[in-house]
């Protein structure tokens, strides 16, 4: 797999120095802290499943904010890669891995805080929950980078509008899992998620390799 450790190191360094994720998780958490204790006060009127749906909603909002925090400007990216003599495929793989490494711990923190603040939990074993979150994170990171390097939408609003439906589609696989499925159905859902991950990764690699060869 074409992963370049210099690109990986650079992406993590830039994230660390910018702390841009911190600026996202803080307002999201603030909303959670303010709104959900109020909901819990009227818990007798709130269906248990509503918390799981809200959980997914928060996941999508947070992922979208994370995706648009620092748009990739294609022309500048090409210049940077050419100046460093890096291939686009190396960038895609290394950037996806870097984003995943930055994103995954934050998603786990978000999930833990959500459960803590709302005193709710998902109806799935911890192992299945973690696997579903990992799949969501991998796909969300890859889709974000694909979307940014194959389109020239540098406007954050346009990106927001277009990327939300994609993340909604990803969360459709998580929804039934978290709401509680039998063991066999849960396995099928996770396998489907794995299949989607492999298809996205393979298709993107094919197109980027093809583009580089031309």
């Amino acid at each position: 797999m074409n992963i370049n450790k210099n690109i990986l190191k650079k992406e993590i360094l830039v994230e660390f120095k910018n702390s841009s994720s911190l600026f996202l998780i803080t307002p999201t958490m603030s909303v959670l802290i303010i709104i959900f204790p109020i909901l819990i006060e009227n818990r007798f009127a709130v269906d248990e499943d509503l918390f799981i749906i809200s959980h997914l909603l928060f996941l999508i909002i947070f992922s979208t904010l994370f995706a648009i925090r620092k748009p990739i400007i294609l022309h500048e990216l090409i210049k940077e890669l050419n100046f460093g003599n890096y291939k686009k495929i190396e960038f895609f793989n290394s950037k996806s891995l870097a984003e995943f490494l930055i994103f995954l711990p934050q998603i786990f923190i978000l999930n833990i805080l959500f459960s803590a603040f709302t005193n709710s939990s998902v109806n799935v074993s911890i192992l299945y929950f973690m696997i579903s979150v990992v799949f969501f994170a991998i796909n969300a990171c890859m889709i974000n980078i694909i979307f940014q390097i194959f389109t020239s939408f540098n406007n954050r609003f346009v990106q927001f509008i277009l990327i939300v439906p994609m993340y909604l589609a990803l969360s459709f696989f998580i929804g039934p899992l978290w709401l509680g499925l039998g063991q066999e159905l849960a396995n099928i859902y996770l396998l489907m998620y794995l299949g989607i991950t492999v298809v996205i990764f393979a298709t993107t690699n094919y197109y980027i390799e093809k583009e580089d060869l031309q």
Partner: protein, 199 residues
């Protein structure tokens, strides 16, 4: 092996439906130096970006034959990563060279004072940015080096460093391509001129 690294016939480049360069035939060898000259809007930067593989517009009915060789460009806006320090940028951009860290630093200190090494790029002036990019070019020593408006941002000492860099590269048969509005005399160095006003 042929010394020609780029050959085009009927090259037409533009953005969206607007054609900037129309029907240009060029043949570039990496054993020569070139200057692309022309008025504002003649397509100097477009051609330079095309040569350096940084062109993001539309190719129309062009025939292009290009060899896979190392080409690096310094354009009017800096390519260095603003959030990182100079030292981190050097590590990122020159990772594949065979030089040791000390050898790289010796080259960098020829262009910039030592205090700049751990400064973030975003605090650099335009002149220092250009010097930093020139030092990276010297470390990487690509077969083809393109520079847009070579004298921009550089003081007299910076210009001397640039002239030295280009001279040393020419001696080792490496190609330098400059683009500016008028011919730039760099210490008597010989350049083949591509005048875009004639097309």
């Amino acid at each position: 092996m042929s010394e020609i690294f780029l050959k085009t016939s009927d090259l037409s480049l533009g953005y969206s439906n607007q054609i900037v360069i129309d029907g240009l035939d060029i043949q570039l060898s990496y054993e020569k130096d070139y200057q692309i000259i022309g008025k504002n809007g003649a397509g100097k930067t477009t051609l330079m970006n095309f040569i350096a593989l940084n062109f993001d517009g539309s190719h129309f009915k062009s025939n292009v034959h290009r060899s896979q060789i190392s080409i690096n460009q310094i354009s009017s806006t800096s390519t260095l990563i603003q959030e990182l320090t100079l030292s981190e940028n050097i590590d990122y951009y020159t990772s594949e060279t065979s030089l040791t860290s000390d050898e790289k630093l010796n080259i960098v200190f020829k262009y910039l004072p030592k205090d700049y090494l751990n400064e973030k790029i975003k605090s650099f002036s335009s002149g220092m940015l250009r010097r930093a990019e020139l030092s990276i070019i010297e470390i990487k020593s690509p077969l083809v080096f393109c520079i847009d408006e070579p004298l921009n941002f550089l003081d007299s000492e910076g210009v001397l460093l640039l002239v030295d860099l280009i001279k040393n590269r020419s001696i080792t048969n490496k190609c330098n391509i400059l683009s500016s509005q008028e011919f730039v005399d760099l210490g008597g160095l010989e350049f083949e001129v591509i005048n875009l006003d004639e097309y």
